[in-house]
């Protein structure tokens, strides 16, 4: 199809997001689509500007990875008035705006957290387990949801409880710094049974902090995090990490297919195309997964 699609990407704040961009480009190329990407540097106002400018350019469709759930009504209405279909990638928006977009290809981040929590409950197997949590950026919807999902996941198990929770801003460096202080605050780490991080990058930092403090992550301290970026599989292969929940970077593929079908045949896609939140553990041949993922642009 000879199509131009504009993509308002959130930014390039993490390896996962870089991979999403790379994969999206590759998928567009596969389908011969003219794909324009605008990087919003984590700012909603920039995303709105980008969408407006896509409308002004007269693209055929707009992909939007919304940085926040609210505030899209008026700009999406403008796109609608210009008869340009919008597909949400990776994150959803507020239910009030349901009829303003064609479909949403997202994972459910509450579900991701829940998967992580359930894994931990299962692994702790009834033994008392103090968890420290590395949150994402304060206020980021993913952070809020992954926290909520995890809490749901462990809700039934009174033996598992979160003893400390701080933000690590989704970064390795902060993850490491925060973990260092958790270790000191929890008696040199002896009281910590498991670490839950809202993303793998923070967990990689936390693993370093634990090793430097003489702890053995993966055995003495359980780890579970989300995203499934290649480096966590390396850690898993080395026995230093236990589990991760995958968030696929390929959101654009299904979105392209939906748009093409919609444009060519008028097929209405379902309102929500949910991607899988697959749990990986050390048992899933981490080295092989690492190899398969390492060139995806993470």
């Amino acid at each position: 199809a000879d199509m131009t699609i504009g993509f308002s990407q959130i930014g390039s704040e993490s390896g996962w997001r870089a991979a999403e961009t790379t994969v999206s480009k590759a998928e567009a190329k596969k389908r011969n689509i003219n794909f324009k990407i605008a990087d919003a540097q984590q700012k909603q106002e920039n995303q709105i500007k980008a969408i407006r400018s896509f409308v002004a350019q007269g693209v055929d469709a707009i992909f939007l990875a919304p940085v926040v759930a609210t505030g899209w009504d008026s700009v999406l209405k403008e796109a609608q008035e210009a008869k340009i279909p919008v597909v949400l990638l990776d994150r959803d928006i507020d239910p009030a705006g349901k009829d303003l977009y064609l479909t949403a290809v997202t994972s459910d981040s509450v579900h991701e957290g829940k998967v992580a929590g359930e894994w931990l409950v299962k692994t702790a197997a009834g033994k008392p387990c103090n968890v420290v949590e590395l949150q994402g950026t304060v206020g980021a919807s993913v952070a809020t949801n992954r926290k909520k999902g995890f809490e749901d996941g462990i809700a039934g198990a009174s033996n598992v409880k979160i003893v400390r929770s701080q933000t690590g801003d989704f970064t390795r460096a902060k993850g490491k710094e925060v973990m260092e202080s958790f270790i000191k605050a929890e008696g040199g780490g002896k009281n910590i049974c498991a670490v839950y991080a809202h993303n793998d990058d923070m967990m990689v930092g936390a693993i370093q902090a634990m090793k430097e403090a003489g702890l053995k992550p993966g055995t003495e301290v359980l780890t579970v995090s989300i995203d499934a970026v290649p480096d966590i599989f390396k850690a898993m292969a080395a026995g230093e990490a236990n589990a991760t929940v995958e968030l696929t970077p390929n959101m654009a593929g299904p979105a392209f297919d939906a748009i093409i079908a919609f444009k060519d045949k008028g097929t209405m896609p379902p309102k929500w195309i949910q991607t899988e939140s697959k749990l990986y553990t050390q048992a899933d041949n981490p080295m092989a997964v690492y190899e398969s993922k390492k060139d995806l642009g993470y």
């Binding site: 324009k36 605008a38 990087d39 400018s53 008026s74």
Partner: protein, 330 residues
């Protein structure tokens, strides 16, 4: 008249640079030279222009206000909660938030004035505080569904080709004109310039420096609050992380517009143009759309450099005729 023009040189240079940039973009992208793009520039940057107007006052007086971005964020969260949760009528919520912002600005101004602390740090603390309080209020993004919002965001002067002059853009234009009148035509405005020229001298000339300083920060915070209202109209929501880093964009716009960061010189209209130049760069990059995230950043930097270098050159040529001390370089 010649004197007057020569004082306007920085603004004229900025205007020339903006126009040149617009023409170049239009030559590259045929869709660019449309009313729609121009109107989008006005609407999309409305809140930024509003804070930049306040920032211009602050910077001309020799200060700086780093809190504006956080104040916008706080305002949106407060409005969302007030309107949706606490059931305050939107217009009352607007009044309330502007009063809160004024008090906030007054506190910062008073601390700067009475404790003789650098504005940079006091407003940095203000920035932490405003953002921190909005986190405490709510970390979630909250939709605003009040009728007034739906009404205002639909309301716009429509032109052909889908161009719309929206309410935020109209508010912004009013603020620019009001700001120009206040700064350039009133006693208060003259005092602001005088403060930037020399704080001690202004005091010795019998101007109430304390009052002027406090008023300047009140103005900046109130305009940030107004920008927050516009932002909440623009997005129909409140979110604690909105407008992060806007203070830097605003400062950059003000300075690109020809205002001296050291105070004493500058024009509101220059700041308006400064925002427009930044908007133009962004629009150009999204029209291009082929740049990866990093190339987009590099291009933004290079374009900024090109604009500023071109502006320096224009200024240099304009000043060539006038005397400029050599060897003495600030």
């Amino acid at each position: 008249m010649i004197r007057f023009l020569s004082r306007l040189t920085p603004v004229l240079a900025t205007a020339a640079v903006f126009l040149a940039g617009f023409v170049v973009c239009s030559l590259i992208y045929p869709n660019f030279a449309s009313l729609r793009v121009v109107m989008n520039l006005l609407t999309d940057n409305a809140f930024l222009v509003i804070v930049a107007v306040g920032m211009t006052f602050v910077i001309i007086s020799g200060g700086i206000d780093l809190s504006v971005g956080s104040v916008i964020g706080f305002t949106t969260v407060f409005l969302a909660l007030a309107i949706e949760r606490w059931g305050v009528p939107p217009l009352w919520a607007f009044v309330l938030i502007l009063v809160i912002c004024a008090a906030f600005g007054a506190c910062m101004g008073a601390i700067i004035q009475y404790f003789e602390l650098p504005a940079f740090i006091v407003t940095l603390a203000g920035m932490f505080l405003a953002r921190g309080v909005s986190f405490l209020l709510s970390t979630e993004s909250l939709p605003i569904t009040a009728d007034l919002y739906a009404h205002l965001s639909d309301h716009a002067l429509r032109f052909e080709g889908g161009a719309r002059l929206t309410v935020p853009a109209l508010v912004m234009l009013a603020v620019v004109i009001g700001g120009m009148v206040l700064l350039h035509l009133t006693r208060f405005g003259a005092n602001v310039y005088a403060l930037g020229g020399s704080r001690t001298a202004t005091g010795l000339m019998g101007i109430n420096v304390a009052r002027t300083t406090v008023l300047i920060y009140i103005l900046s915070s109130v305009l940030a609050g107004l920008a927050g209202i516009v932002f909440s109209l623009y997005t129909s929501s409140g979110y604690s992380l909105s407008a992060v880093g806007v203070e830097l964009d605003a400062i950059a716009a003000v300075v690109i517009g020809g205002t001296l960061l050291s105070g004493g010189y500058g024009f509101i209209f220059g700041s308006f143009l400064g925002v427009m130049i930044q908007g133009l760069i962004q629009t150009y990059i999204s029209f291009d759309g082929m740049l990866s995230s990093w190339w987009a950043k590099i291009a933004t930097g290079l374009l900024l450099f090109a604009f500023i270098a071109f502006q320096q050159l224009t200024l240099h040529l304009a000043r060539r005729s006038r005397r400029a001390p050599a060897g003495v370089h600030p």
